[in-house]
């Protein structure tokens, strides 16, 4: 059976070392570059005309813009629009990386915990910085919900702090695990097809996992979009906490 883990392996392409740090250009780096190249090229080419009546491509760019802007505006109000470029970059980067991973043989950047953890950590740090910069110590009110009886307040505050600190973990693991599990499942079902084909009498069963793989592929496309959306949505909600810790 083909190894379902093989697709996640990282291969060096150009070994690079900067100040003793391993900065080897790997297949992961290559797909990151492809992703940002696609995104940047798409948005620059799409907006080349800058016409009032948009072309189809320009419409797609505008719809994406409005989609993310609407998400952010709904969660944080107008004050959060300052962080729109960050939220937008997160969305398109994760979305493109997820979608690139759906192409057979391509590497999925977001299937590595370190990548999703770095992105979640970036959001977490931004929330902390913005929270303290905007509200000072009032930001700590986030952990002390109002309207809670005084005798359970310490417990609730403790729970709030723990849940706040575990945010980057759930934030990163959700995306990572979804991408990882999806790709493993696809590979496993693909492997079943091959195995059944070589199983002599039972080879007539081979279409069953094939149909399953087809259905899962559709599901994985949905997951690829949905996880980018969920990641962005959570980023917006966390940013709202940083901007309006009172509620």
């Amino acid at each position: 059976m083909p190894d379902p883990i093989h697709q996640f392996e990282i291969h060096p392409i150009v070994p690079i070392k900067i100040f003793g740090w391993d900065a080897t250009f790997t297949n992961s780096s290559l797909f990151m570059l492809i992703a940002i190249f696609l995104v940047a090229t798409f948005f620059i080419l799409a907006m080349r005309g800058r016409s009032l009546v948009p072309t189809r491509v320009q419409s797609v760019a505008e719809v994406t813009y409005e989609f993310v802007a609407g998400m952010l505006r709904e969660s944080t109000g107008q004050s959060g629009m300052k962080y729109f470029p960050l939220v937008f970059t997160l969305f398109v980067f994760i979305f493109t990386a997820n979608m690139l991973g759906m192409i057979p043989g391509f590497f999925t950047v977001t299937s590595h915990i370190i990548v999703t953890a770095a992105l979640a950590g970036l959001v977490f740090l931004t929330v902390l910085l913005v929270g303290f910069a905007k509200n000072g110590l009032h930001f700590l009110k986030l952990f002390v919900p109002s309207g809670v009886p005084i005798y359970v307040l310490p417990l609730v505050t403790l729970i709030e702090i723990i849940s706040f600190l575990s945010r980057p973990i759930s934030h990163s693991v959700r995306l990572f695990a979804n991408m990882l599990a999806g790709h493993i499942t696809l590979k496993v079902f693909g492997g079943f097809v091959v195995m059944l084909l070589g199983a002599g009498t039972y080879s007539f069963l081979a279409p069953l996992p094939l149909f399953m793989a087809i259905a899962l592929t559709a599901l994985e496309f949905l997951v690829a979009f949905l996880q980018a959306y969920v990641f962005t949505m959570l980023t917006c909600m966390y940013l709202n906490d940083a901007l309006h810790p009172g509620h």
């Binding site: 883990i5 740090w21 391993d22 990151m32 940002i36 620059i44 760019a61 398109v92 370190i114």
Partner: protein, 181 residues
């Protein structure tokens, strides 16, 4: 660090290298982090400096344009309404003027007719009084001649009956005396 270079990015099948689940292999963390920071940072710069302002600009311009067009449409509508109101006012004025003209015309005609009628009536009344006067005159004249005739006839009857000649004055006196009794 140097050790991790070979460990992390090595081909997994390399002998002596313990097989690690690749998505969790700490040996690959450093290059992934570095390249993620580079690519993500670059994408952030491109999007925030170049691409997003362009999209935002176009969307804003479009919404401005729509707002402006709506405003203009509103203004034009207002103008239309004003023109309509002016038209209706003019119409009402014209109708009022027409009514006034018709009324004055009617009044004039009525006055003229009245004057004519008064004139005719006056003429008729005059003719009537003249006629009445003439009738009265004729009547009194006739009555006067009745007396004369009566006197003559009375004289004639007396003469016939008695054969005495009586003067007109005497008959008249007698008649007046009789009439007084």
């Amino acid at each position: 660090m140097a050790q991790k270079v070979t460990a992390g990015t090595a081909v997994p099948d390399q002998p002596g290298h313990a097989k690690v689940f690749p998505p969790l292999d700490p040996g690959t963390f450093a290059p992934q982090l570095i390249w993620l920071a580079l690519t993500f940072g670059l994408l952030y710069l491109i999007l925030s400096r170049v691409a997003l302002p362009r999209v935002g600009e176009v969307i804003e311009e479009r919404s401005d344009r729509i707002k402006r067009d709506l405003g203009q449409a509103e203004k034009l509508k207002e103008e239309t309404e004003q023109a309509l109101a002016a038209y209706e006012q003019a119409l009402a004025e014209a109708r009022g003027k027409a009514n006034a003209i018709a009324k004055s015309m009617r009044d004039n005609l009525t006055a003229e007719v009245d004057k004519e009628r008064a004139k005719v009536e006056a003429l008729i009344a005059q003719k009537l009084t003249e006629a009445e006067a003439r009738i009265a005159q004729t009547k009194s004249k006739a009555l006067a001649s009745v007396n004369d005739i009566a006197t003559d006839i009375a004289g004639a009857i007396v003469t016939k009956l008695t054969g005495a000649e009586v003067s007109k004055e005497e008959v008249q006196k007698a008649l007046i005396r009789r009439a007084a009794e």
